[in-house]
């Protein structure tokens, strides 16, 4: 088959996939920190609200969430562009898993650190943002890395609400050319290349939050 005709389409689809993924990761990270912090610090009411959010989005099918926001929500008068729906649902999904990661990492900060903060008279807010979170973020990074790549792969589901992402484009080309083997191989390679880019980006962020290998590895130098 003649690739030169289809390459621009594939690249455009890949671009849409990357846009949706990155936007979902960024919004999802904000949601993850917001709800994860509420779980730990929010008091009985707010932490229950955060718990409901995480459990609803972790406990239901992402595909059905997409359908619900795309087909059901307009029935009550709320409708968004497909791409907006895709990003919001993917972000909420990633945020649900991310909030659990944030909660777990925050709870793993040792009591001794919190007592030291208290002895120095830091208030709750300062203890959270100056002491707990900077230490917890390092713990979160590997799990966030997995979640980012998971989000990239799950983004293919948005093709089912008529968004022309990489998967949607691949389907269209296959329907035109009937060359399943080539088109799906190329599509897999594209996803793999994008996840490599994500992995490298995450490694760089991880390196930055670890302060260039000094913290927190416990080897004496």
């Amino acid at each position: 088959m003649d690739w030169s005709a289809y390459l621009p389409m594939i690249l455009q689809g890949a671009g849409v996939t990357m846009t949706i993924t990155l936007a979902s990761i960024v919004i999802g990270a904000v949601l993850a920190f917001f709800f994860g912090i509420l779980r730990v610090e929010g008091g009985p009411v707010l932490s229950t609200i955060a718990l409901c959010y995480t459990e609803v989005f972790r406990g239901t099918s992402l595909l059905v969430q997409l359908f619900w926001f795309y087909y059901a929500l307009p029935l009550v008068g709320l409708s968004f562009e497909p791409i907006t729906t895709g990003i919001l649902v993917l972000a909420a999904h990633a945020g649900g898993y991310g909030a659990e990661i944030v909660r777990g990492a925050l709870s793993s900060v040792s009591t001794q650190q919190l007592e030291a903060a208290r002895a120095l008279n830091f208030n709750r807010f300062q203890t959270l943002f100056r002491i707990s979170l900077p230490q917890a973020i390092v713990e979160m990074m590997p799990a966030f890395g997995n979640l980012a790549i998971e989000t990239l792969k799950l983004s293919s589901l948005v093709s089912l609400i008529s968004i022309a992402d990489l998967t949607f484009t691949a389907q269209s080309i296959r329907n035109l050319t009937l060359d399943s083997a080539s088109i799906y191989s190329v599509t897999l390679l594209c996803y793999f290349a994008m996840s490599l880019v994500l992995m490298v980006a995450i490694r760089i962020i991880e390196h930055v939050v670890r302060r260039g290998d000094v913290f927190p590895r416990s080897a004496h130098s």
């Binding site: 001794q112 007592e115 302060r211 913290f215 004496h220």
Partner: protein
């Protein structure tokens, strides 16, 4: 604060502290004069660390009254000693500093930032001033050249000396040491004790020290208190307690630790 007619900076009266069904301090009475250096000794579980932790507001207590520099741990108009608001407790905490057994430096901050962070954030000190003071304190503990290192790059003894500088940076009137050398390799104990010894010469600083270093306790303290089962069994000048202990339990304890 009304301190003029009260020579005591710390006053426990009939304080009872329970962990569940376990009574750790039972109608505990104890007072410390301003500038006094007091060492608390005794078997583990006897309540000596709990006294420090209550003073640092790390633990609530159930009954009795505790005042520090004229401020009660009970909140005026509050429901009880254990329900004082965070605002009230933070006022008390401003006068107290603590050095922990396991140092508890912040691993994500350099040595200098460990010392500077609280004065800047909590006391609102200008960063330049806080850094100048921090460097003086680090010189005092002999670690000014390590200011840009991270805690994991230091030995235990060095970490504990930084922790002492960090506590002093908050200008506490009362400094609590909770077994500051117990987690250290024997050859590192001396460097930490020598820093504490220097601080003991500061006239205005009240010090409470929980330790198993008996020779050191004898050397630096004005008063030694022997704890057993949530009470002070015997207290007095170091030479009395170590020289001719009157209480049977004190004698047994000292015989077991001094060998």
């Amino acid at each position: 604060m009304n301190e003029t007619n009260d020579p005591h900076i710390i006053e426990f009266s009939d304080v009872t502290k329970r962990f569940g069904i376990l009574t750790v301090l039972d109608n505990f009475n104890f007072s410390v004069a301003k500038g006094e250096k007091v060492t608390l000794i005794g078997p583990s579980g006897s309540g000596k660390s709990t006294v420090l932790r209550i003073l640092m507001t790390l633990e609530p207590f159930q009954e009795g009254k505790l005042t520090l520099a004229g401020t009660s741990y009970h909140e005026p108009g509050g429901k009880g000693p254990f329900q004082a608001s965070e605002t009230h407790l933070r006022q008390i905490r401003n006068h107290v500093g603590m050095v922990f057994q396991s140092f508890n430096l912040f691993p994500h901050m350099t040595v200098l930032r460990n010392v500077v962070e609280a004065p800047v954030r909590v006391l609102g000190m200008a960063r330049a001033e806080a850094e100048a003071r921090a460097i003086k304190l680090l010189q005092m503990v002999g670690l000014a050249d390590k200011r840009d290192h991270y805690p994991v790059q230091l030995s235990g003894g060095q970490q504990q000396r930084v922790a002492i500088a960090r506590a002093m940076a908050m200008r506490p009137r009362v400094l609590l040491f909770d077994e500051p050398t117990s987690a250290l390799d024997p050859q590192l104990v001396g460097e930490v004790l020598s820093v504490i010894r220097d601080l003991a010469h500061e006239h205005d600083l009240t010090m409470l020290l929980v330790t198993h270093e008996m020779r050191f306790a004898r050397e630096v303290s004005d008063r030694v208190c022997f704890f057993d089962k949530g009470r002070i069994c015997e207290q007095g000048a170091p030479d009395e307690i170590f020289g001719q202990p009157k209480n049977e339990r004190t004698r047994e304890f000292l015989a077991s630790v001094l060998g």
